[in-house]
Symmetry: D3
Subunit: 243 residues, 6 copies
């Protein structure tokens, strides 16, 4: 029995609210249950120096967590003077996952930065961030297309992410904080809308796993991502209607 009473293959409630803030070219508040992440897409025409004049663009991400997003207050990274290894690992994963489905040549010489800031944390912040960031990116790119700044759509696929792991010996989908802190092993899967894998990371936390375990987690991830894709579609439609 999961602490939350969910079935093993049951996601938490997914909610993706477009337009949560108004300055960014794309903005959503994504919730996976009590995990809530604000994702904004900022379009800029200046590129990092190593990319200038190559006829292509760049997609990157930054991740942060408000100090009291968590059960007990964490240190503010800006006050500490550096981003933790965990923060850097997550923001590298978010950026890589989105670049995997973007045609950087078609994007042209512009950079889109996805800022993913965790307002409230209850497990799965990185997967919620990737899933929400895709919608923010989609909305920003749709504005560029609508404004005549882009001819072809540089986004080749949807992308979504979800965590899975073994909890009490059972493979379960979309771990919340209680499960995550007791999981024997846990993983994150980033999948595309056409069923392929962008990234799979499964880490033993106390108990190792075998090939069969890896596959069971992957299959749960497919179930979860399909629900996320539907929520993404709904959010993109709502954003288009609001324009």
């Amino acid at each position: 029995m999961r602490p939350s009473g969910r079935a093993p293959d049951q996601m938490r409630a997914i909610l993706i609210e477009p337009g949560f803030t108004r300055h960014a070219e794309g903005s959503v508040l994504v919730s996976f249950g009590d995990t809530r992440v604000l994702c904004t897409a900022s379009v800029e025409t200046s590129l990092p120096p190593w990319l200038r004049g190559k006829g292509k663009g760049w997609v990157t991400a930054e991740y942060g967590m408000l100090p009291r997003a968590t059960h007990t207050r964490g240190r503010r990274e800006a006050a500490g003077g550096k981003q933790s290894g965990r923060t850097q690992e997550i923001q590298r994963l978010i950026g890589r996952s989105l670049r995997a489905i973007v045609d950087l040549e078609a994007l042209g010489e512009r950079q889109i930065t996805l800022d993913c800031d965790v307002i409230q944390a209850d497990g799965g912040t990185r997967t919620a961030a990737i899933s929400g960031a895709w919608v923010a990116l989609r909305i920003a790119v749709d504005k560029l297309i609508a404004g005549g700044q882009l001819e072809a759509d540089p986004i080749r696929q949807k992308v979504a992410a979800v965590s899975c792991g073994f909890h009490g010996g059972q493979a379960v989908l979309d771990l919340d904080y209680d499960e995550d802190s007791q999981a024997g092993c846990d993983g994150n899967f980033v999948l595309t809308g056409d069923g392929n894998i962008v990234e799979a990371q499964v880490t033993a936390e106390g108990e190792c796993y075998d090939e069969e375990g890896l596959l069971r987690l992957l299959r749960l991830a497919r179930i979860g991502c399909n629900q996320i894709f539907a929520a993404q579609d709904a959010a993109v439609t709502a954003a288009a209607a609001a324009r």
Copy 2:
């Protein structure tokens, strides 16, 4: 005529939503028009070293702005490795303003940290932060009292803050971003519920001012703070009802 069409002594819509996040002992989302700041109060029993064993507590504040809270994306301070002078100046002001109305002996040996994170910026983020932080603090302290952890109420007064300035030669209340960036001079006033002044800061930006100008801004600030005090009362009442 103000860019927003407001009368010179007209505040933007004030909204203080308690319980915006669930882990913090006190949490509100405060809006002054399009400026929105998440304020959380975290109660901890560990004190900074220089205060330990003195039979009194501490109230402090940290301030941050999400990179895309603003019209154009700003640099993430955690990535840059330090907090700007502006950030430090603001968080020092917030902490000082709240300590001015708290009896630190009555608080006992605990520290309350107010985290004020700007979700969306449209001028006046520091004054919204002070006004919201007071409510978060009030809610946290009410929980300590309700839980029997505090006997006497350490909060002596309400405190609220608002900006005023000269725009187009006219004294106006609660400047938004458009006004702020063109103001001849602008100031921030932190006032208590019984009408006294905690802090007054008025800075010439291009045109100096005289004693009469200073007094006109102070009188506008009184009008604004009275409305904020009412919104604070409503939020505290709502939070109590929700408990």
Copy 3:
């Protein structure tokens, strides 16, 4: 009775010695009693990137305190790896105060940096710094004019600053360290030679104040600044004579 025996509206001895060091284009050692600050003005033709090619200049300030300027040794900021929030707040105030009276277009494409380094501290270091920095700036600009590098004088006004506060319930002028550490509230006023206000900051430290209190402090500040203006005039005259 003030600890120093001074009357409530009595300044400490003001001394502004021009030419204290010889490399800077302008240099003074300013003393408000035992508070001594070395102020130098450095003229450079390189501008910060965001100002280049706009046909105007910039005036900025940096502030520091020698580790043993104070009663007990403080940490050297360079060794600690960052400037404190207090340091940044002060240097921002100094820069803002001087820019308020300089015509940046008339200054042309050059930057003048005012370095204000506290040799000995006894309260009021930031107000001594502003008052001395104005003289260093004046001397440096006079050299530019004398050398034919400037046609019109970009300095529109004198500017001086002084602290005031309530000590033992009494409004007093120019607080020294003993008074400052016990003051109920204290403020800094930056005034121009023609009687206007550049910046007013009054902060409650333990006891709040009212409108009447604010005005009494402002009136004391006028008395103090008039004496500082006279000392500035004498220093500028002496510097001109020495040229």
Copy 4:
């Protein structure tokens, strides 16, 4: 055809030289072809503060790359003032992989730090580091046992790691730099001596992959790790003989 002429399931030459340096409790130079990493195990009795007095130990890792380990010189991280995100990600992976096979209670209140410094890089530095660090750890623990400082062996399993990926559409084992920089996707697998998985990470770099692809890479990884386990055994035996 692989650039190196190797068969798809062919590892580079594996060499693990124990005793490469003499101060560390365990020390090896591990080579996967031209990739060479110095791994040292340092045993210390001081623990990080959050682990003290809990009757258990800790295993952690740090990773570095000499500036000219690579084809072109990279920036020295110590000079730049921080470790890159990549460095932090790798050292977190190494530490996690070794902790997965160590009984921290059986280790007692001591910390073992694995320093993995890349002397020469040609792809696969993190997998060589994990594989070599295990041997350094094994040697250090054997010394503790031989010296009577440990009663039970806290190491439960061997652990080794290898990279695999798709290069030119073909699944290949142990990518060198040439292959790595052109790979469509690449992954790192950390496996235990009894055939289980500690960590699997597979990342699309330009082309996504499917479930079948994931399994093919895992099977290659098993082939590689079995060879590494044999090299580890030989190194441990040689180290014991030299004692």
Copy 5:
């Protein structure tokens, strides 16, 4: 012919003014010609952690240069966030030189920090700093002895320092900035009152030197240090008279 017209073995005017600032236990302004360094000695009873409880004390130094001490403005180290290699090298030399003549056991469990801040630079700042720091230390220790806090005098010797070098092929004493920037080689000698050497550093800058050259510089250094010792004596006497 030296640019300054001095004879090869002629020092600049040496002036050591005790009591330049009043908070420090020892304070002097030392001038070697236009080079002026403020040296303060701060006595503290807290020791660095690694020295506590060992029945002995510590003497250390910090060095800084005001940004406009030099011909053109340098970057403020506190603003840049770190001390340069040059600064660290100099402050290590100053601390080492003073520890060489102090009996740390006799000093007891206290730390004396010598802060050497360059007010104006014209070559030889490190040698002026060592020479002045000794006087500040002497004054501070005399106060401890006079106050009954020390029984035996922990200072075993006088110490002074001077630079020498080859300029235009000629060995010259006490290089000023003009000479220093054109010197073929330059060195710093730290000598004790009884004629021994604490530190000798001679560096080729463009032309190497031989044993005879080294000895000629050392002999010049003796001439210079003897004059500095006399100036130190005068300053210590003046400080004692003023007490």
Copy 6:
């Protein structure tokens, strides 16, 4: 009697292995007994900004020590976020020593960086680093000449370095860690192949020295450097043969 049983004027075994790593333009592993330093020379065509367009090149050095090169593990400088004063002092010395014998005009507009990383430390790491770095530089420059990129040889001299000091009252050559930690005074000498001095630094550690002592150390240094020059010749010859 020296702890190692060596005669006072006896060097440890010197070994300079060229080609220890393969990416760098020049690379050696230098051993002075158990002290082993990897020195690489990297040739780059980009120059530091202040040297561009002046028709000359630059030679610089960076120094590091692996955390467990020493008897007990030291902190990794990259993790601590800065290089220690000792590290900076050493790398400045290495760079200065090599520039002293290079004709920077003849080098042309290129920069050569010598990275000296201590693999194992047993005293004398900086002198081994200088001696090895010269060989790495020589090999890199020979490649430039062989490749037709340089017409004239910019290296004017050999350079080598060795430490000497007083141990137990006796002047000894090439101190190892045991001697170094008990030495009364110790020094480093950098000499050229034609017998001149590039740098002499002799520091009292507990006991001061006199002119005669300085000369005895210098004479020992000559003995040591002559042996190092022979080892350098052998290494350069071996590197040429291997090309």
